[in-house]
Symmetry: C2
Subunit: 294 residues, 2 copies
């Protein structure tokens, strides 16, 4: 219904935000991206930060996903417990401005002793399912600051597991003893795959990380390989967690292409078929479906 | 020989330095500590930074251990390969100022595919052995920014393994999404032990770390327990690595009391006897022995 008038879809994260203008036919006819993540908006200033989006893309209904609904965001949108599908998200939408600006809730997953949460990825996952970009039953890997392993059954998310890989890699790169070794971008060459094999085979990631420096100091590894090796190490250890319940079929890797390619390459090294799906296309598919449901 | 005249012992690390004045009888008769770690001394300024120590403690022979001998320090003191004892360190001393100022080399450990290095801890370990504070055959745990697990056989260090526990905990505390949850000091209560059990039992540290936040958000854990739980988690995972070759006898934990107490408590949780030995006393025992050998 809303879709006939067009709307603005927003993915508002911790450190940046993206917005797309979707017209009545469902086409994306405008977009913007900036570094106004929720942490750079002061409490009380979110209404103005949203006005800024409307000034740039037009005065439309606004549907927002991501950390904007967290306790550090604008209005907290309580987590929807798993299992959950798109209709559950639509029912639990939180209106920050009644009838004008809505926040899509994230998901929570609780199961004996395990606790996990997500905000933003659920729109991509369920969007990819709704648009038949991925099967209704699959294991999805969603790399990012916090990589998610997501079980989809009958088109709904039944559970997930978050691994802090991206954030740990950033911390190491920016603030650790390894920082000067991690300046180059990680690429999927032999150093990366050797890191992946090591991460897959060995428990004790915090010990493996120190050896990155020791290997260079003792001429066992080349300095220029350190970033790719370390990325491989972290992703290998991550995949060890994700493949605890290895699927029969392929793993779907959804997200930004520069990250999905690293994970897909590492999954193949782990003997697992992997297919990459674009995160932006998935997000837009999901939010278009949600716009139909409200 | 040198000992008759007295000398200054220096433990010069990355972020701070400590120095002790040892008299001819081997007694510590003066000391200083400040934040002039090697990273805060510009290249070319080390000679002046050493003069500063002599101005404060007297014009004596100076024996220095730690990162001062690294490639970021004053003069690089090449690593001595394991196995190594105090006499090997004495033979490979590097004189930054001939006959006046010496740097004690660190150790390296290379064994098929594994590479590791240490600088500073070796003086404490071998000092504790030389002073009969610990047996000549033992497994030593040395917590710090980089925790070391050290195998001592016949009074010599035959190999070791570094786990980046302390640095990862600092990075999480200062720069991560968990920062606001990790403000309280870690103490050895139930939250710590629950973290230790989890770290000992579960592979996948980077996944466990994210759950710290999720557990608080979903009311599965108390916010004020997060720092102790996370410390336990990291130390539990560390001990998993260290006890791969579990010793029959006790593990000796050498270092700063606030850290050795956490590790000793976690080792007991892991079913291992543990004994704490003071790192400063061990360091002074080691450097006194070295002063005798040169």
């Amino acid at each position: 219904m809303r879709r006939a008038e067009g709307f603005i879809a927003v993915d508002w994260g911790t450190t940046n935000r993206r917005a797309w203008l979707i017209d009545g036919a469902g086409n994306c006819v405008g977009e913007m991206e900036d570094d106004q993540g929720i942490l750079s908006v002061e409490r009380g200033q979110f209404s103005e930060a949203v006005n800024d989006i409307r000034r740039r893309l037009g005065d439309h209904l606004l549907l927002m996903a991501g950390m904007i609904g967290s306790n550090r965001g604008w209005v907290e949108a309580p987590y929807v417990p798993c299992p959950a599908g798109l209709s559950d998200l639509a029912e639990r939408l939180v209106w920050a401005e009644e009838g004008r600006t809505a926040i899509i809730p994230g998901l929570s997953y609780l199961t004996d002793g395990e606790a996990d949460v997500m905000r933003g990825e659920e729109v991509q996952i369920l969007g990819a399912v709704a648009a038949d970009m991925v099967p209704g039953d699959c294991l999805i890997c969603h790399p990012g600051t916090h990589n998610k392993w997501i079980n989809v059954v009958d088109g709904r998310i039944i559970g997930f597991n978050t691994v802090m890989t991206g954030e740990i890699f950033s911390l190491l790169k920016e603030h650790s003893l390894l920082a000067d070794l991690l300046r180059l971008p990680a690429t999927t060459g032999e150093a990366f795959h050797s890191g992946v094999r090591r991460g897959l085979a060995h428990d004790g990631l915090t010990a493996e990380l120190f050896s990155v420096r020791a290997r260079v100091l003792l001429d066992q590894a080349k300095r220029e390989d350190a970033a790719s090796y370390t990325s491989g190490l972290l992703i290998g250890a991550d995949i060890r967690v994700g493949l605890r319940a290895a699927p029969e079929a392929e793993v779907i890797v959804i997200g930004r292409p520069e990250l999905t390619s690293l994970y897909a390459s590492a999954l193949v090294e782990a003997g697992q078929e992997a297919r990459e799906v674009d995160g932006e296309a998935s997000f837009l598919a999901g939010i278009r479906q949600l716009a139909e449901l409200i």
